[in-house]
Symmetry: C2
């Protein structure tokens, strides 16, 4: 894409109403636009990152047998009353609105009810199970305060998968598979070595749930890590009984701040009981379906990546989620020869299937470089009079901090 | 995909609370699930159709220079007050809700305000224009009655592109391009020969807008067509002055019912005036940006396709939007040889990049065929003892109503 056609522009001053690094850098880079506290629109660059993350998640979910669907945002009060989650005294972050006839409806803050209710129409026999289904969806939570940028939005974009199994044994098998798939996701988006599977509260549903916690000083969660044993425990559940059960000792644990980038949860029969999701087993006996849920906030994940890889005035996107693979910067000025060569490599890279953001704008060198730093595409390729004379291009690998001089063919090879 | 893994099931009885053909067939085929009147979730098959439509639209929008982004659902009251569209007396189908601090927020019913407001931060010079940006998004309209299935939802999925030009001349050039792109979309989704560009009211914005109207008896709109001159006029604007202007005559016009599947609209400077979207022209003079909007409801489009191609108990999806290209039906029963051959062709077709729904279920022949009729994939391939003995497969082309006997290679060739 030619940068002259990209309407979003970078800005060098920080927005005054943001305290988080993620919102600061994402707004300055032209990835997001703040509509109000906790509500952001995705500008073209931001949407590209989200789509990359979405595709990584979709691939992993499909590989463990997930089927994608899309549930409505507007939620039927009756269903939530059956699970006792309609009342604002029970769930304090609902957004609610009204139909013209005065009937109350809610805006999805989660999806257990919708999925369980839909499946009551389709599940009757053990032959129908297991079912693994998921949604990418805008989710609405009426947070009282919202100042951590896209880490905790009033409106955000997530994926949630729900599993429906015959019993706990079948459930546990899938739960372990989902853990592996989640590890795959965080590895691919570049957070693998900083993300820990963490024992956390299972709420009213089960003893433990598992959170995926990414270590960073800007995290709101406190977790305890045993590096040697690769165990992580959320502060909420840290007590002697838990330590004993997990074979961990207080004196080998290190306290860390972290952001919860995903969680997986055993739900048991809480929702299938309330909504009547039953099946007949092989003996013809009626049983409750055993459920689990598996969530990831995509916008939060994008924010976490920025918290980890962002610096003052510079972002470095991990390759797999970068909005483009190459930022090609033409320093043609008035030199039509350089312009021709820049156009040529742009075409050649694009023809080779490589996503290129091509800075074809008539601007000062310093501004172009500062822009590229804020946008943060991991490979910066410069085409200038100097490189033309050397019959190559200057390639900066942001992550390694290395500069090399390569031909078009060598650049293509580097990316394959 | 193996049909045994598809949780949605067909149903042979019609839902009692639906009067429209589209909702009836889509619910019976397992494409959508009714959450409440005017609100439907997309089941896996329905989402596949929507994704096909989405990709067709995206391709056309990108080809005319569109850039994709994603604006928030929650809308800031202040911005809508500036354009005088916040008040329920002016816009009667808002859904509104409240933040914890009591502030009112709205749910997007359209996108002019959001786009115009965002661009005030990015447009300052004529060099920044034109801009063509679009969204795929869930839209919310608080309809009083909602009984035409997914043709008029309280929540629906749409695409809207907004154009931002220096002046009316530049705008008109793009407007004509958008017309062609829209024709391309309706042709690709299979509605080309039934869809007419129709002169319609331009509202307070301009003399005319253009609607894309698909002829069908179930349409809510009345349009008048001059077949020879290829002119169509919405009843709302039909008067002598308009006839005169378009060179049409009342006695050659035929009255038809139609569904509006898309519309394009000149907005002029109504929104840029209200929200202060200005630019400096080449002489340094301040000017208002000239706008247009270009909408398509994807869920409505899916519904229209069903109204056109659906029959009692049978759907025939146009190839480009069909959830799968082939419905492979194995009539193996207990014959492991037939099962082996069915598995083999499933793998071969899938390996060839063809999307196949593979009915591998242990069910009666009649039920499998009735299911396939409701799901409506245009090519049905049967693998049975009989076809095995003939060393081929039975291929039914639903659209042509033809049956032929082909090898795997011939089927693959047919689809390329």
């Amino acid at each position: 894409m030619r940068q002259s056609k990209l309407f979003s522009k970078t800005r060098f001053e920080s927005p005054k109403d943001e305290v988080s690094k993620n919102a600061d850098l994402l707004i300055r880079g032209g990835f997001i636009f703040k509509e109000m506290a906790g509500v952001y629109s995705l500008l073209p660059l931001g949407l590209r990152v989200i789509k990359k993350i979405e595709n990584i998640i979709r691939e992993e979910m499909n590989s463990i047998g997930g089927t994608e669907m899309k549930t409505s945002v507007l939620q039927n009060k009756e269903i939530w009353e059956k699970t006792n989650r309609w009342d604002d005294a029970v769930v304090d972050n609902w957004f609610k609105t009204k139909l013209k006839n005065g009937a109350d409806v809610g805006l999805s803050f989660t999806n257990e009810e919708a999925y369980t209710n839909i499946l009551t129409q389709y599940v009757s026999s053990y032959k129908d199970l297991p079912i693994y289904a998921y949604d990418f969806k805008d989710i609405f939570r009426n947070e009282t305060r919202s100042k951590s940028g896209i880490l905790r939005g009033r409106e955000f974009y997530w994926k949630a998968l729900y599993s429906f199994s015959q019993n706990e044994t079948e459930h546990n098998r899938f739960y372990e598979k989902a853990k592996v798939a989640y590890e795959g996701i965080f590895k691919k988006v570049g957070l693998g070595d900083k993300t820990y599977i963490t024992f956390a509260s299972g709420g009213t549903f089960s003893k433990y749930s598992h959170e995926f916690q990414t270590l960073t000083e800007s995290g709101e969660d406190i977790i305890y890590i045993d590096e040697a044993k690769k165990i992580a425990i959320n502060k909420e559940v840290l007590n002697d009984e838990v330590l004993n059960e997990l074979g961990a000792r207080r004196d080998t644990l290190v306290e860390k701040k972290a952001i919860e980038v995903g969680n997986i949860f055993t739900l048991g029969t809480r929702f299938s009981d309330a909504l009547g999701l039953k099946y007949k087993d092989e003996k013809g006996e009626s049983k409750q379906v055993f459920m689990g849920c598996y969530g990831i906030g995509l916008t939060r994940l994008m924010g976490t990546i920025v918290e980890i890889f962002g610096k003052e005035g510079e972002m470095i996107w991990p390759e797999e989620v970068s909005p483009f693979k190459i930022h090609l910067i033409s320093l043609a000025g008035n030199d039509s020869e350089v312009e021709k060569i820049s156009d040529k490599i742009y075409k050649e890279l694009t023809d080779a299937g490589i996503e290129v953001l091509y800075d074809d704008r008539d601007m000062r060198v310093g501004e172009k470089f500062a822009d590229a730093d804020l946008i943060g595409i991991p490979l910066r390729v410069v085409s200038s009079k100097k490189t033309m004379e050397k019959n190559c291009f200057e390639v900066k690998d942001r992550k390694k901090g290395e500069i090399s001089y390569l031909s078009t063919e060598e650049i293509i090879k580097k990316l394959k």
